[in-house]
Subunit: 251 residues, 2 copies
DNA sequence: CCAAGTTGTCTAGTTCAATAGACAAGTGAT
DNA sequence: ATCACTTGTCTATTGAACTAGACAACTTGG
């Protein structure tokens, strides 16, 4: 061991970043070791008391760090038993009938969709072309955060014609589902026409919303959904947490 | 503006990262804008009260953020006048006579060297070859943090023969200078024999010591110093904060 | 010199991170 | 069934972050 000059160097001090809370440092430390593959899926973390002792920290502080890991979808805790690593990913099947809530429910999880923001804006050329509108036409823009079992899965920016669906935001905020929102407008069956998948990294905003660090990988999914008669309904640009989702494409 | 669902979204909320203090977020924000070149050297920051208003935050919080920027060597504050950006770098001339304290003093700053850690260890083949020892020979290893005007400039790992300089660590801790430490052993004139410069990025440990973010650029300086008779004395591996230092090589 | 503007310092109060200890509730193996 | 072990919850305390307001000390330009 290196002998350190400043003071008694418990493992606690080696973590301490100025202005960053202790529990956050511990959570980040464990996230690294988990993401780097040191723990297999389902592996058990050391008991809280042991982690606390190792870092020279109170058990409550460790509990808070673990709660953060849970919110990030990295671990699951079982009372009386222990804390277990979750590195398996949600299989997200992309096909003609792609409905977030159905996919998540089929996997045995609780789906949730929250409207983070919305506005009316003139359509860019790109968006207008997708929706079959003139460039500059009024469109509704929705920012939607989707989660499975309270763990954020994706953030999506969705555009719809403001003329046809003027109150889409208000209705979505109540019903929390695109499918049910369109149902209000009499659209009963809509289908995915095309999907474009690329990759990138989280920026500060998406990282916050998805409870990820900055510079984590994301899957960027652009898509167009059309009505039964082929008329464009909505187009979307979703950013999926690649640490938590795998996209399955039918072939 | 996007209408946000959760709550009133002042600019303050857009910064808030869970587990990170407000002042730290503000400091990081300003560090980014400074490092990205938005401010010229010597440019004046907005007054504290204006920054506070902009973020919807108390002035004391802003003061703390600015103090952090000062500690990182990015700004200098002048009472009654304002806060000014410092992006100029310390010119660090590398020659036969390379003495940290002399270089810093010549630039009109206050030099400081602190021993962060030390130990005896067997020399690696590389280190042994440099020092003219057998591989595995006992060497003293020092971890030294150097600063100019309290701003960290470099961290260096230095190796000396443990047989010849057994108490190097103890003496350095008192005298805080390699030159004066060697003087105790009767070495009055020593000279740089070779210097090897490469580049890299901060790891978590060096970032903390140098008060830098992780993944900031560093200059890696490996070197060998010899006595007047050509006998190897010490070899070193320094990591210099590239944001704060420019190396000047005589030709 | 004067006045406006800016940084430095002080006091006071609220909120929350972290510590400390104790006990309840649940699990798993003997 | 019992016992050791683990997670969940509760209370209480300390210290730091952040807010709020006021005033002193200093700089700059007119």
């Amino acid at each position: 061991m290196l002998t350190r000059t400043p003071r008694s160097s418990s493992d606690k001090n080696s973590l301490l970043a100025r202005g960053v809370m202790l529990w956050r440092c511990i959570a980040d430390e464990y996230e690294q070791t988990i993401l780097v593959g040191k723990y297999e899926n389902g592996a058990k973390l050391p008991p809280e008391s042991e982690i606390a002792a190792r870092y020279g920290v109170n058990r409550h502080t460790v509990r808070r760090a673990i709660a953060e890991l849970g919110a990030r979808g990295l671990v699951r805790t079982e009372r009386g038993s222990g804390t277990y690593v979750k590195t398996d990913k949600l299989d997200y099947r992309i096909g003609q009938r792609t409905r977030f809530s159905e996919i998540v429910a089929a996997a045995g999880h609780e789906a949730e969709g929250r409207l983070q923001g919305h506005r009316h804006e003139p359509a860019s050329e790109e968006i207008a072309a997708r929706l079959g509108l003139k460039a500059g036409a009024d469109v509704v823009r929705l920012e939607i955060l989707r989660a499975a079992d309270r763990v954020p899965i994706s953030v999506a920016t969705t555009w719809l014609s403001a003329q046809r669906y003027p109150d889409a935001a208000k209705i979505f905020r109540q019903l929390r589902s695109i499918t049910r929102t369109l149902d209000r407008y009499g659209i009963t069956g809509y289908a995915r026409k095309w999907t474009r998948i690329s990759a990138g990294f989280t920026d500060a905003v998406d990282a916050g919303r998805l409870r990820l660090s900055v510079h984590r990988p994301i899957l960027v999914v652009e898509s167009l959904d059309v009505a039964a008669d082929g008329e464009p309904i909505l187009t979307s640009r979703g950013r999926f947490a690649a640490d938590r989702v795998a996209l399955i494409v039918e072939s």
